[in-house]
Amino acid sequence: MVNRSDRELDALFADYRVAAEVPEPGPSFMPRLWDRIEKRRSFAFQWKRVTQVFVGSAAVICLLLTGIMVVPRTAAAPSHATYLDVLAEAHPTENLAAQGIARFDNPEASR
């Protein structure tokens, strides 16, 4: 249902269509547009360069950290000793005897 206010509002919008001035594009429209395009293009190019440098350096840092994490571990690893050898070296019989875990036979006392 269209009432009087609706019709008046439609007429007002029609008036507005006529009243809104549409300026003609000036002679500098195209040159200014291309200036803006070029400006954004150079900004995009610089931004691309910055991100490439960032990604590149991040990759180098990652490789470096991986190297640091991996290399010392391989160096510290025993080359040919068995588990029992390492255990015996870490816990000499004297220590175990002092703690009462193993019996220590003194060779001089038995003589």
Binding site: S5, D6, E8, L9, D10, A11, L12, F13, D15, Y16, R17, V18, A19, A20, E21, V22, P23, E24, P25, G26, F29, M30, R32, L33, R36, I37, R40
Partner: protein
């Protein structure tokens, strides 16, 4: 369509001369739409340039030529919306800086310079502008496209990629809000008179 799809394809592949031709073909139409959407002739060129700038950098995303015009409209709507949002923020701070007397003096000075027809046009623009302040920038643009630009709901559907019913509801609500503001303005201020010819 104002241009052949081959021309758009050439522009897509980086042919600057083809892009120039596309801009020249659509320049006037975009100027008109932007002028009616933002209502400030002094800023139309700037906003229209922004539309074509966005077109240049997003042209490679266009797949089919049928959607070119709705898509260009969408870019126009988005650029106008961004402008209106910035303008509203700027106006709020600018008006806060001016005293009431300064505002009245500026209005009087502006009024003295224009003739009656121009004054009436200005009144219509200001009046419609004040009515549209009762809705959000998005709804303002939607109403403008429908009521002033004369686009159909089907065309709006393509521009906004929204279902017809949702669009109709949004349009109805926005129009009701403007209508309410229009009716209450009848009681408060004198509306611009219709031309007597």
């Amino acid at each position: 369509m104002l241009v052949e799809f081959e021309l758009i394809q050439k522009a897509q592949s980086g042919d600057d001369a083809a892009f120039n031709q596309v801009v020249t073909a659509y320049r006037k139409r975009i100027f008109g739409t932007v002028a009616r959407l933002i209502g400030r002739p002094e800023d139309v060129e700037d906003v229209a340039q922004e539309v074509f700038l966005r077109l240049y950098y997003s042209l490679d995303q266009l797949r089919t030529w049928e959607v070119f015009e709705p898509w260009l409209y969408r870019l126009t709507v988005n650029a106008s919306y961004d402008y209106l949002r910035k303008q509203r923020r700027r106006n709020e701070s600018r008006m806060a800086d001016l005293s009431e007397q300064q505002v009245m003096l500026a209005d009087a000075a502006a009024g003295g310079r224009v003739n009656t027809e121009e004054q009436r046009r200005r009144q219509v623009k200001e009046f419609v502008g004040s009515l549209l302040d009762s809705v959000s920038e998005e709804d303002r643009i939607l109403l403008m496209l429908k009521e002033v630009e004369g686009l159909s709901v089907k065309e709006l559907e393509k521009i906004y990629s929204v279902k017809e019913n949702a669009l109709k509801v949004r349009l109805f609500r926005a129009r009701q809000r403007v209508l309410k503001a229009f009716e209450s303005s009848n009681k408060v201020v004198k509306r611009p008179e219709a031309p007597t010819d």
